[in-house]
């Protein structure tokens, strides 16, 4: 009986945390909305410099998109494994997700480096300020996601899979899918629209 009450208490707490995390994701989405809005407003404010069509390399951004979409898929498989308490498979799939995320991040860093190397920095024009802020904020989110994933994997190794770890992984996977969705919008609005 006491066991029952305790697990009921825990289930309620899980439900609340999940709900709270959804609200947090919505606040984060609103932050991205503001960044998208500033990007839309400043898109033509290139201050006489080259425009998006001249600077972007679509294959690079497309490869990044594929990497991130695949990582969302592997993250999903990792969650299925975690819910079945398969420790090794969980670690394997989240490990692959981590590597894909890292590859995506590397591509982004390469792109940023090239732009800066050619003299197109965030100081060059209002449009580039908004570009670096929007894409960079997404990149920062990816970094925090990767950090979170790494810490979770360390704790899976140390403590094994338990209900509280699965709760953390659930939130992490929500966060990762959320970043995927935001990236689809970035890819469409920032990169694809440049070539329309």
């Amino acid at each position: 009986m006491a066991q029952n009450i305790a697990s009921h208490h825990e289930a309620e707490a899980n439900d609340r945390v999940l709900f709270g995390f959804w609200i947090y994701l919505m606040t984060d989405l609103l932050m991205f909305a503001v960044l998208f809005a500033t990007y839309a407003v400043l898109r033509d404010s290139t201050a006489g410099g080259p425009s998006d069509r001249e600077l972007f390399r679509l294959p690079l951004a497309f490869t990044g998109t594929l990497l991130l979409l695949t990582s969302s898929f592997t993250c999903g498989i990792g969650m299925i494994a975690a819910r079945q308490y398969k420790k090794f498979q969980t670690l394997l799939w989240f490990g692959i997700t981590f590597l894909l995320g890292l590859a995506f991040l590397t591509l982004e860093v390469v792109e940023f480096r090239e732009l800066i190397h050619e003299g197109h920095t965030w100081q060059s024009s209002a449009w580039l300020s908004s570009f670096f802020s929007l894409v960079g904020t997404h990149g920062l989110h990816i970094i925090s996601g990767l950090l979170w994933m790494a810490v979770c994997m360390v704790f899976i190794v140390k403590r094994g899979l338990n209900s509280s770890m699965i709760r953390k992984l659930t939130l992490l996977s929500l966060f990762w899918h959320f970043l995927d969705i935001v990236w689809i919008f970035i890819f469409t609005i920032v990169y694809l629209m440049a070539f329309v």
Partner: protein, 692 residues
């Protein structure tokens, strides 16, 4: 090397003006006295364990009150300085403040009053009252709550830090409008202090908002459906939903301004394609809903007060709830009325003008419901009710002024004039601040176990009403006469000076009223046995918070009550009172210091960004992240109190309540003066200071 270690910080940043030296000395002496007192009384451990690291929303609520009270006095001092300058500075006289100093004062006044006074008091009240009203024992996430509070404290310290280091605050107006707030026109650290103070406390507010939406939607007592929720809880829910909707906008906007200043970006600059009007749009998209975020909990307080002191349930519950939801929804669609003069075009202005006028409809629904609640009620004119009556007269008046401002052609005349200043002070003082006072007086016995002195409270109320009218009605007139806001000097031929002097006298009367409020609290503490609330229900309340003893035990309810109707406690009382309690094991969250640690690191990072100390910023950010990780992976955050222990605590509380008497005459002002004189005489006669 020095630049790497200290950034822009140097000896020149230390105080060297009368105002900064004075303020720094006050802080130092105050801190020293506090430290000595706590050490002397051996209270450090108690302070840390019982208060600072507490996750009990009631204790966090009280800590919010304490910080907000200090900030109210601090912001009030700014107000008096503004009044004095404007009364003096006419014609040949330039007053006692320089233009630059004056600009910093009104900027700080606005920031402090909105972010640290109004928000602080509202979060304090919501923390204390909402869990009790919905029959919950704690919040959905106790950790987020303590973190939010300590981020608020970090912001409050940051906004005062410029006295000690830097010596200048932003001179940009409370919203730091661009491009004035860019490095081109504001190269100093003032704007950076503004950015990081608001950023840190704003993130705390967002976390608090998420937490309360979770709590209100997920943790209500069994039987309390949404349509049975008390009005204050409804109002808080509306307000917190608005917080999570608009505070992210503030966070990003401040970040973009920071990017402009720190990384040399061009979002809002005058060159390379920057768009300053975008800043104005973004900041008001947050800024307008923000005033409703403050207003809505006040609406909730008034609803509770008017229904309790009229002895009736609130008139037309459904329309009252819809009114609040309507206000909070429409509030998101009116931001452009702050800058009709920007030149967005007639159609855009017309849309926002109409939306602004439409918002008067749900607001009027609320006002009429309050009046209808009083109709045929048995009204008791206790001080909370007086604050409500003061509010409803002042608020209607200010609201009509707002309708006038909502009309774009009229707005072109009144924009940036003192008419506007008078309007929003009527709303924020008459609406929000009176609501806070009503709420504090109403729930004071719940928090402390004794009521506030009514007689001195009435004097304070009349002082506020009279002082308020004298201070702000002249500003409406001055606005029509053409006086713009933020004037540090005006020509004597304008003939404005008598009106400014009248406003100053009003300000002095308000200050007297504030002193009376402080006396009211001290007098009540002296007489706390006579004013004791032995029943837990001193006003014949209607909602669940009055079902607990005053002050409530840390777990709020030994048995969670079951709710069957609106005005849950009123119904319980009608049907023979609370059932005999059946004690059960209670799970409560453990105290945690991680809220303090994370906020301290966030503060360090903010400070480092103000002074361009990159390594310290990295230390601050990494420190905060590590603390959050440690806290997240801590599995032992709860403990259990057994049913036996609960029973012991409950019976002990009952005995203590029987010991208090709750009878006797309240002291008046004259009695208070006599007590103070006797006290001082005692000190001299018995040489009491030797004992300390």
């Amino acid at each position: 090397m020095k630049e790497f270690l200290l950034g822009k910080l140097s000896l020149k940043a230390l105080p060297h003006e009368w105002s900064t030296i004075g303020a720094t000395m006050t802080f130092l002496v105050g801190a020293l006295v506090l430290v000595l007192l706590i050490t002397r009384l051996k209270r450090w451990k108690w302070l840390w364990n019982e208060w600072l690291t507490s996750v009990d929303p009631k204790k966090i609520g009280i800590m919010y009150f304490i910080v907000a009270t200090f900030m109210l006095l601090r912001g009030g001092l700014d107000a008096v300085m503004i009044w004095l300058q404007q009364a003096l500075s006419s014609g040949a006289s330039n007053g006692y403040l320089s233009a630059a100093h004056f600009q910093q004062i009104f900027t700080a006044h606005g920031n402090i009053m909105v972010f640290f006074v109004a928000m602080g008091f509202m979060f304090g009240l919501i923390n204390y009252v909402v869990p009790l009203q919905i029959g919950a024992r704690d919040l959905a996430s106790p950790f987020l709550n303590t973190l939010g509070f300590w981020l608020y404290v970090a912001g409050a310290i940051m906004i005062n830090l410029f006295f000690v280091l830097g010596g200048e605050y932003a001179a940009t107006g409370w919203l730091a409008v661009a491009p004035l707030s860019g490095t081109q026109f504001s190269p100093g650290v003032g704007v950076d202090y503004l950015i990081w103070s608001l950023q840190i406390s704003g993130i705390g507010t967002t976390l608090g908002g998420i937490n309360f939406v979770m709590t209100i939607l997920k943790m209500r007592a069994p039987g309390m459906t949404l349509r049975k929720m008390p009005m204050f809880t409804w109002a808080s829910l509306c307000s917190m939903v608005m917080v999570v909707t608009v505070f992210p906008i503030l966070t990003v906007t401040l970040f973009l301004l920071f990017f402009d200043r720190y990384l040399g970006m061009h979002f809002f600059t005058t060159d390379l394609g920057g768009n300053a009007m975008m800043y104005t749009n973004l900041i008001w998209m947050w800024g307008h809903p923000e005033v409703y975020i403050l207003m809505l909990p006040a609406f909730g307080i008034y609803s509770e007060v008017v229904s309790t002191f009229s002895g009736k349930r609130i008139a037309s519950y459904t329309s009252q709830v819809l009114g609040m939801i309507g206000v909070s929804t429409l509030a998101l669609l009116v931001w452009l009325h702050h800058f009709f003069t920007m030149g967005a075009g007639a159609n855009v202005n017309a849309f926002f003008g109409i939306m602004t006028t439409v918002i008067a409809i749900p607001t009027a629904v609320l006002v009429f419901n309050w009046i209808a609640t009083m109709y045929k009620g048995r009204i008791r004119f206790k001080t909370p009710m007086l604050w409500f009556l003061g509010f409803i007269s002042v608020f209607s008046f200010g609201g009509l002024a707002g309708l006038l401002l909502a009309v774009p052609p009229a707005n072109f005349q009144l924009h940036n004039s003192l008419f506007l200043v008078a309007h929003f002070h009527t709303m924020v003082i008459g609406g929000v601040l009176f609501g806070i006072f009503a709420g504090i007086t109403y729930w004071f016995p719940k928090v402390t176990g004794f009521k506030l002195n009514e007689r001195i409270g009435r004097y304070a109320f009349w002082g506020w009403i009279i002082g308020f009218c004298m201070a702000f009605i002249p500003l409406y007139v001055l606005g029509f006469m053409g006086a713009t806001r933020r004037l540090d000097h005006y020509d004597s031929s304008t003939g404005w000076q008598p009106l400014f002097i009248l406003a100053l006298i009003g300000g002095i009367i308000i200050s007297v009223a504030v002193v009376l409020q402080i006396i009211q609290i001290i007098a009540s503490v002296i007489q706390k046995r006579q004013l004791a609330d032995t029943t837990g229900d001193p006003w014949y309340g209607r909602t669940l918070e009055w079902a607990t003893p005053s002050p409530p035990p840390f777990y709020n309810f030994a048995t969670i009550p079951t709710v069957t109707a609106r005005d849950a406690y009123w119904e319980i009382k009608r049907h023979g009172g609370l059932p005999k309690p059946k004690y059960e094991d209670i799970h409560m969250p453990k105290n945690t210091a991680y809220g303090i640690y994370v906020s301290a690191f966030a503060f360090l990072a903010g400070f480092a960004f103000v002074w361009h100390i990159n390594w310290l910023a990295i230390v601050g950010i990494i420190g905060a992240i590590v603390c959050v990780i440690i806290r997240t992976f801590d599995e032992h955050v709860e403990y259990t109190i057994t049913a036996d222990e609960v029973e012991k605590i409950e019976s002990k509380m009952r005995k203590k309540n029987l010991a208090a008497d709750g009878q006797g005459e309240e002291m008046g002002l004259w009695d208070f003066v006599k007590i103070v004189i006797t006290f001082i005489a005692d000190i001299f006669r018995k040489k009491l200071w030797r004992r300390i």
